[in-house]
């Protein structure tokens, strides 16, 4: 939907024909042209097995693409991994921790693996990151004893050990309670306000809707759409929803009134509204003796856009 601008200087991620075929012949990612503008909070959506994780792993230099190129922060991956990755914080497919080490020692170890991290500021930065994700009190507990939500927070802390230009967060609120989710969303907004680009994959559409400025939708290894949120949502039509105890009659009248794609689900009839005053449609229903309980226009959401694109339900991205 957005004009693809390959190689634009301020794109934080730019892939061109990125393809991965696994050894078994399975095509995981197929000719992906993804563009993530600098400063955006970019939602990455797609059903399970759609190639999101493979894409993220290729961007992080963990998997070699079969063909195509990927540039992160303007430099080719995986070739420039040593200069690019210190500026990238990542949470990939959930956190991974050393169970026999405490939370603090886990972070000290990950920081020691970064060739550009200053060992003199290590302890202070680790303490700062623990504080930022609300784990300071549990810092000396073995990671084995952490709950899923605490592990997730520690994984986030590892991504925040240093100021980053790009954060890649794969399902960052997984395992968190609603309060924790809200904290993480606030954190993401803060980071974005500081100028960090956030690449966020999530199966929670409303989460993407709440924090993202841009989004891309993948299915079966291909990119279905990408662009600013406003443009994406504009692609989906509003729906007319009529609640009635006489669904059969209602559906007939609505069709006569020019309502397209009429579907009946129990006491609810929905369809695409016609290009005329909806008050007349309602009047026609009443005139035909249809008893109307509710008559509303449901605004298009990202979920509608998503379903229109993938033809699947909202559980698909899980």
């Amino acid at each position: 939907m957005d004009a693809v601008r390959p190689g634009a200087a301020d794109d934080v991620i730019a892939t061109c024909g990125l393809t991965k075929r696994y050894r078994g012949g399975q095509l995981a990612v197929d000719g992906l042209d993804l563009t993530v503008p600098a400063g955006s909070v970019f939602g990455f959506l797609g059903p399970n097995g759609s190639g999101k994780t493979t894409t993220i792993r290729m961007l992080m230099g963990l998997i070699e693409p079969t063909s195509g190129t990927a540039r992160v922060l303007g430099r080719p991956m995986p070739r420039a991994a040593r200069t690019v990755l210190p500026q990238v914080g990542a949470l990939i497919e959930g956190p991974a921790l050393y169970g026999h080490l405490c939370g603090r020692d886990n972070l000290l170890r990950y920081d020691a693996a970064d060739p550009t991290a200053d060992p003199r500021t290590r302890r202070a930065r680790v303490a700062g990151a623990l504080d930022r994700v609300g784990l300071a009190a549990a810092a000396d507990k073995r990671a084995r004893a952490y709950s899923l939500g605490m592990k997730q927070r520690l994984g986030l802390a590892a991504a925040l050990l240093r100021p980053r230009r790009l954060l890649v967060l794969d399902e960052p609120t997984n395992g968190l309670d609603p309060q924790g989710m809200r904290e993480i969303r606030t954190l993401i907004r803060e980071l974005a306000a500081d100028g960090t680009t956030v690449f966020l994959s999530s199966h929670l559409l409303d989460e993407i809707e709440q924090v993202c400025t841009h989004a891309a939708v993948m299915a079966r290894g291909r990119l279905l759409a990408q662009g600013a949120m406003t443009e994406l949502a504009a692609g989906a039509r509003d729906r007319l929803v009529v609640s009635t105890p006489d669904p059969a009659d209602a559906a007939r009248v609505l069709k006569e009134q020019g309502v397209a794609d009429v579907t009946t689900d129990g006491g609810q009839v929905t369809g695409e509204p016609p290009a005329k005053d909806l008050a007349e449609v309602n009047a026609a229903l009443v005139a035909a003796g249809v008893r109307v309980r509710g008559f509303t226009l449901r605004r298009a959401s990202l979920e509608d856009a998503f379903m229109a694109l993938t033809g699947e339900g909202s559980d698909v991205a899980g």
């Binding site: 792993r57 992080m60 230099g61 963990l62 998997i63 070699e64 991994a81 040593r82 200069t83 990755l85 210190p86 500026q87 990238v88 990542a90 990939i92 497919e93 959930g94 956190p95 991974a96 921790l97 050393y98 169970g99 026999h100 080490l101 000290l108 170890r109 990950y110 920081d111 020691a112 693996a113 970064d114 060739p115 550009t116 991290a117 200053d118 060992p119 590892a158 240093r162 100021p163 980053r164 230009r165 500081d194 100028g195 960090t196």
Partner: protein
């Protein structure tokens, strides 16, 4: 938190950083309960041998008799011989098993736990991470051997007299000289384990399961030991990493008989070269999907 700051920081690669990573790796390995249990078992072997010999001699039995590990007969006369006996007793199985467990787990364990992907995006660098893992396993070879030697020396000193001793060749050497040779023997034994270490690290690059890599490596140790028993396999036996292991006893000859010792160290270098390269080739090109 400005972008320029992050960019500047990323440009500086710290030269001593690899040492910091090695330190972190050593600490992480040595704090695993598994590692501590292995070292504990290794420390217990000399104590068991020493106590067994002590009990037997008290009953008036002769402790030699040709059976049992090398130098066993000499232990009652001089506690220092317990060091050689303990190393001879642990080298065929306990020591290589411990090294096989640590080497096999080195990369496969991290892959299985998922921590490998975070080390690589930190980014530790694949070649450097492999070198650090290799160095850590080598340090563990030395540490485990020294644990056996130290435990044996302590047990020997407590249970038996210490003093000047006799070499296998029948010449007398001072206690200090004997101590020096014991240290040298420990170093040779540690170096003899590098072949297993390289093999284990290579196996570790092949799988994402730490348990599978550990079991395979320990299995290879046992297999090599069994194959080395068959005279029919004479063509192959000199290339088994364990074939010259017992040559460390030649350091107790006067003059030292170097032939088998150099063969042993050369063979370990060969294994380190071949399987080290194979591990590098595999690990630097592998897709990290775990």
């Amino acid at each position: 938190m400005s972008r320029a700051d992050a960019g500047d920081a990323a440009a500086v690669h710290r030269p001593l950083w690899t040492l910091g990573l090695l330190r972190s790796e050593l600490l992480t390995t040595l704090r695993r309960r598994r590692t501590l249990v292995l070292l504990g078992v290794l420390a217990a072997v000399p104590v068991l041998v020493g106590v067994a010999v002590k009990i037997q001699t008290r009953r008036g039995g002769s402790s030699g008799g040709g059976a049992g590990p090398a130098f066993l007969g000499e232990v009652t006369g001089n506690g220092l011989f317990l060091v050689f006996t303990a190393l001879a007793a642990t080298l065929p199985f306990f020591l290589p098993m411990a090294v096989g467990v640590v080497a096999g787990d080195a990369l496969a364990g991290e892959a299985g736990a998922g921590t490998l992907r975070y080390l690589l995006v930190a980014p530790a660098g694949r070649t450097r991470l492999l070198l650090v893992k290799y160095a850590t396993v080598a340090v563990f070879c030395l540490l485990s051997t020294l644990v056996v030697a130290a435990s044996a020396l302590l047990t020997g000193a407590l249970l038996f007299p210490l003093g000047d001793l006799m070499t296998i060749s029948g010449t007398g050497i001072s206690f200090a000289d004997g101590l020096l040779r014991a240290l040298l023997i420990a170093l040779v034994v540690a170096a003899s384990l590098l072949g297993v270490a390289s093999l284990g690290l290579f196996v570790s690059t092949l799988t994402d399961s730490g348990i599978a890599a550990m079991a395979t490596t320990v299995g290879l140790v046992v297999t090599a030991q069994i194959l080395d028993q068959f005279p029919q396999l004479d063509a192959v036996r000199p290339y088994l990493f364990s074939h010259y292991w017992m040559s460390f006893a030649d350091l107790m000859r006067d003059p030292v008989y170097w032939h088998d010792l150099t063969r042993d160290l050369g063979l370990q270098a060969l294994y380190a070269g071949v399987f080290g390269s194979a591990a590098w080739a595999r690990f630097t090109t592998k897709d990290i999907t775990a």
